[in-house]
Symmetry: C2
Subunit: 349 residues, 2 copies
């Protein structure tokens, strides 16, 4: 309960990657009146980016070792991709720094050993930004609902696909045209395959399965249906039923039979439902708890500003209590996975 | 990231109050396979309640001093009301225990000194259950969105009034009849005035203003309009405009002029909006951040089970890191409050 979530001790932050997310984090740290200070920025094109960024009080470098051995307390990893990001996160922890990352691919694949190593080092690895943009779903599941037994998660986790689907539904345009619009607005990568095929949502869903069910899920084992062949005609047909289509990520876990059902697919949802009303690059999730029933959360799921909010919240949490104990997870791979064959025609979210 | 949020060290819990919330907490602690152990229950009618509860491994007592001086690590306060709850929370902290409370009245009025005392004692005072039932809004605002600058909050914070309003809208019955139904279902107190008049929502809104804006708001200074004179005819008129009526708690803070606008009142909302779709004893909130835009959260807002989820999540957080540093808030009373005169006819939530 504080308007200044940062402790009074100055906390030094080094940033890896000055792309959309990294530059948004840098702007916030430079602008905000906090005791958190951005001291280093690593970027392969440091010299060029420094010229346009105007953050002259910061040490810019294209040399990762220079940043990893600098005197920062916290390293923010905003590079993306599995490698070299995973290696550098481990190196930062080895150098005694806490790490904040937005990297869903690294966390989906390597969270357990990295979190165990962080705990062993007496440091923290936080990743609110890896799932749901500004929507604090990692804390909601890992902390706020720790007192419940979560039984199911349904979520829209990929802002790009949601923006594309919303555009098709609104204008009747082709998927290709909607992708071009999303690219022009900065919501879609040059290659939208990871978004439409579901790789992005699968990685995020695997993270949520670890948080909610304690399962080590290989994201690539999660099946489903790609959104790449969804057409305007599909939306027209859905509309006749009062529905629309969303890329839904679903997971439910039956603890008695140790059976996880998980998939990512384009699914019909009622137009008036939470998911039907989740438009543009937004994310939304319904978490079903055995004791609390359905808890919903929604908000900006993509974009540098939204992701920066999640990263700054994680920085604040570390700055507040740098000696906090975060017990490493105990994940099991001892479960049955039901996937593609279990995709329903519609969900009621 | 763990399926077992509790640390491996056994953590001993004493419970104050064996009413709806307290008994739900006790049942969960007795049933769940966690290293958290319920050791003591204080209740004025301990002997009688023990007979029906069947928790024979626990020490029951009508003597508060016996519990405060027992060897529990955490005291759960589930008595309600300002006194003696506030005195007992302080006494528990003085005795070296951390405290988890569902008490919105105590937190709204005494959070700052109690949290400062907890920090001085090296202990924690947690209160997720004081606002929003199972919906983890205290963490969302205080922690998950710490990296944003929150500018406004709109919320349905009183499950009883929401259940009453939903019933009037669905059946056209009188407010008195809807209150009787809610009482029969366990959603309303014998005297529903605190719910309908807005005292309950005002206390919760004051807590959210402290978390979001760093303001010390006297809940009784928050004005608005009582829901006690809302009629079935009001709902009929609203329906003609595609709307319904909800008890909405609103706060926005202009940091430049240090002006807080805050009120609790029955307000028209679109039937298809989040608030319009929030039915029965549910809660919902839209938090507007300067950087992340609107973040929404909703879920079970009332009832022993939902409140117990929030309390168990707080117990888990303390059990995980009993030495965690929770800096006390710095709240200011130096602001202008705009209230009753600023209630609008409708809100778009």
């Amino acid at each position: 309960m504080t308007s200044d979530p940062f402790s009074s001790r100055c906390c030094r932050v080094a940033l890896l990657g000055f792309g959309t997310v990294g530059s948004a984090v840098a702007r916030r740290l430079a602008a905000d009146d906090t005791p958190v200070r951005l001291t280093h920025i690593f970027d392969r094109r440091a010299a060029e980016k420094r010229r346009s960024a105007g953050l002259d009080a910061v040490s810019w470098t294209p040399d990762i070792d220079e940043v990893l051995h600098a005197d920062a307390d916290i390293v923010v990893e905003a590079i993306g991709g599995v490698e070299p990001a995973a290696t550098w996160i481990r190196a930062a922890l080895a150098a005694g720094k806490s790490v904040v990352t937005a990297n869903k691919q690294v966390i989906a694949r390597h969270a357990a050993p990295l979190l165990a190593f962080a705990a062993q080092q007496g440091r923290q690895l936080r990743f609110e930004a890896a799932v749901g943009g500004a929507m604090p779903i990692v804390r909601a599941i890992g902390d706020g609902l720790a007192g419940d037994r979560i039984v199911a998660i349904d979520a829209i986790l990929n802002g790009t696909t949601n923006a594309v689907f919303t555009a098709i539904d609104a204008t009747g345009c082709s998927l290709a045209a909607a992708v071009r619009t999303a690219q022009a607005r900065g919501y879609a990568e040059a290659d939208p395959a990871a978004d439409l095929d579901g790789d992005d949502a699968r990685a995020k869903l695997a993270i949520l399965c670890a948080l909610a069910f304690g399962l080590r899920v290989d994201p690539s084992a999660i099946g489903g249906i790609s959104c790449a062949s969804t057409t305007a005609a599909d939306f027209t047909r859905a509309r006749l039923r009062g529905a629309t289509i969303r890329q839904v990520a679903h997971a439910d876990f039956d603890r008695v039979t140790a059976t996880l059902t998980a998939w990512v697919a384009p699914i019909e949802v009622a137009s008036t439902s939470l998911f039907g009303r989740t438009v543009g690059p937004q994310n939304a999730a319904i978490i079903t708890g055995a004791h609390s029933g359905e808890i919903g959360i929604f908000g900006a799921g993509a974009g540098g500003e939204a992701t920066a909010v999640a990263i700054l919240s994680d920085i604040a949490a570390i700055a507040r209590d740098r000696a906090a104990i975060v017990p490493p997870p105990v994940l099991t791979a001892n479960f049955i996975l039901q996937t593609s064959d279990f995709v329903p025609a519609e969900v009621a979210c």
